[in-house]
């Protein structure tokens, strides 16, 4: 017998866990950036290409999760958070993986050289961008606890604190980006112009990863406001 009148039909699948799974996947994807650029700097293009494959498969997986997530979000679902906000967060999360893949793809395709004088700063810059994603993931991880408290009380304060930390981290990334650009500016005459253009582009995109991570935090804050 199939009991369609059963109370169980009332319960939809909570979007929180899938959203968190998606987030940890894309952050994992972005975290490959560090080892990727280390391989690039060491001129190990085979290794870099392997890492790129990892990034690409992560990005693919994230895409699948995203599609599934959207399919499980019919308009008839009644949720404690707005459907549009959740879908917005999901899209931002997905962007992290997309940009990561783009960056790796360009660098690998052009076998780009990172100038010697920039190398250590560059790795530091990448690391702090990844750290920003980590912080955003931490905030997203709190969503189930937020749901548990019904979006009230100490938990909200706690998440707001996490979001503040995320913002601070993103500002650090911004500072590093400016510094890196200035140093590149000083030596740009020595490098072929097209290469310089792409270096700026890569720096930009890595900053964008951190930016998107911060925006996830901002959207999370919107959820709390309601």
């Amino acid at each position: 017998m199939d009991f369609s009148n059963s109370i169980s039909n009332l319960f939809g699948k909570s979007p929180i866990r899938p959203l968190q799974e998606h987030m940890s996947l894309v952050v994992n994807c972005a975290s490959h950036l560090e080892s990727f650029f280390e391989a690039v700097i060491a001129d190990q293009w085979d290794k870099a290409s392997e890492i790129f494959d990892l990034v690409a498969s992560n990005e693919n997986e994230a895409d699948d999760l995203k599609k599934q997530f959207r399919l499980n979000m019919p308009k008839s679902l009644f949720m404690p958070v707005s459907r549009a906000d959740l879908l917005g967060i999901l899209a931002q999360q997905d962007n992290i993986a997309n940009i990561t893949k783009d960056v790796c793809g360009i660098v690998l395709g052009r076998k780009m050289n990172i100038p010697n004088t920039l190398q250590s700063d560059f790795i530091g810059y990448v690391k702090s961008a990844i750290e920003t994603c980590e912080k955003a993931r931490k905030a997203i991880e709190e969503l189930d606890e937020l749901l548990e408290t019904g979006f009230t009380g100490q938990e909200v304060k706690f998440v707001k604190k996490l979001i503040r930390e995320l913002d601070a981290q993103e500002q650090k990334v911004d500072k590093k980006e400016r510094k890196l650009r200035q140093r590149l500016f000083k030596i740009e005459a020595e490098i072929p112009p097209v290469n310089v253009m792409f270096l700026y582009n890569v720096i930009d995109n890595i900053g964008e990863v951190a930016d998107v991570a911060e925006q996830i935090g901002n959207q999370l804050e919107l959820l709390l406001a309601k």
Binding site: F3, N5, S6, N9, S14, P15, S76, F78, P80, T149
Partner: protein, 425 residues
Amino acid sequence: MDLFSEYGTILIILAGAFGFFMAWGVGANDVANAMGTSVGSKALTIKQAILIAMVFEFAGAYLAGGEVTSTIRKGIVDSEIFTNSPDLLVFGMLSALLAAGTWLMIASFMGWPVSTTHSIVGAIVGFAAVGVSVDAVNWSKVSTIVASWVVSPVIAGTISFALFRSVQTLILVHDDPFVRAKKYAPLYMFAVGFLMAMVTILKGLKHVFKDIGMSLSFSESIVWSAMFGILVAMLGSYLLSKVKRDLVLEEKNRFANVERVFAVLMIFTACSMAFAHGSNDVANAVGPLAAVVNVVNSGGVILAKSTMPSWILLLGGAGIVFGLATYGFKVMGTIGRKITELTPSRGFAAELGAAATVVFASGTGLPISTTHTLVGAVLGVGLARGIGALNLKMIGSIFLSWVVTLPAGAGLSILFFFFFKGVFG
């Protein structure tokens, strides 16, 4: 009347069999809905849920099921119309039982939304209005009943909303929710005990007290109920003292231990839910049976005031337990597996809100749908931002259940009515 001296025993046996069949259906399907939330939130295992259901469904049916039974028995139809033709009432009630039971079977197999309460009310109205005359239906009572179907989910939702909000403000928003949960949980347990005792004393034990020449005033009832509530809270505190903080669990979710406290609380609300369900839904099966037995035993005289033989409620209770044991546990497992998003802190609020509403309806003699009331209660918790995702299509299916089940029960009942009339009349 000749009919009753000739076929009386057969009629009673038939009514008993149909009533038991109906009660079996309630036990097999409805109970699983009432208890599924406890199983789904993992507060109870299926075995524990079945045990609790058996004891408290029976207790609810026996101790507090009288009022709704009497509504089904003589509230929906106008007894005066049948004074000169009691045989029609007997045939009608038999058809209503058979019709509702059959319809429940068909609908369950086809997976259509059904409600026992709606089936039986539809069936009784059907045979009376079409088989006898439109005046044979006590329309004012029927409209009260139909109104209660709309009101009960709303009331349950409101109570559950308030309960969950109280859990938020008393427990969840604070720094140490585990300690606060342990502190406040007995309060809710007290409410559970008080509620059950109050309804039992006011409604169920009325006859018992009268028999032994005892009577309690309203305030005395409150005192006794409060004492019972305190007893329940003490039992609960004892169980709670065994819940120790498990730090390993907290690494994954900081509220894991808080939920363990609520899981204990949910044992109590599950009891109240089973009690409430028994008090309201057993009447669907035994109400018509009681009507038949009454008329046949008095040889055709429809007594306005008559005591109901206790074996009838016992038969209903036994049917529910039998349905649970043969089929209900399977359904409960299915439902429990599907409800995974409901944590004990929400499940308890939903169950208590629904149980309070249903028990109150039982006390007033209104047959309502336990499942629909529970749906209202869950939505109430959802409105307090408590549940991850709720499927609002269920509301449509409830609406469908009204539109489809009422005429279906009525139609079948009319069919059977003329059949019985042809066979015995």
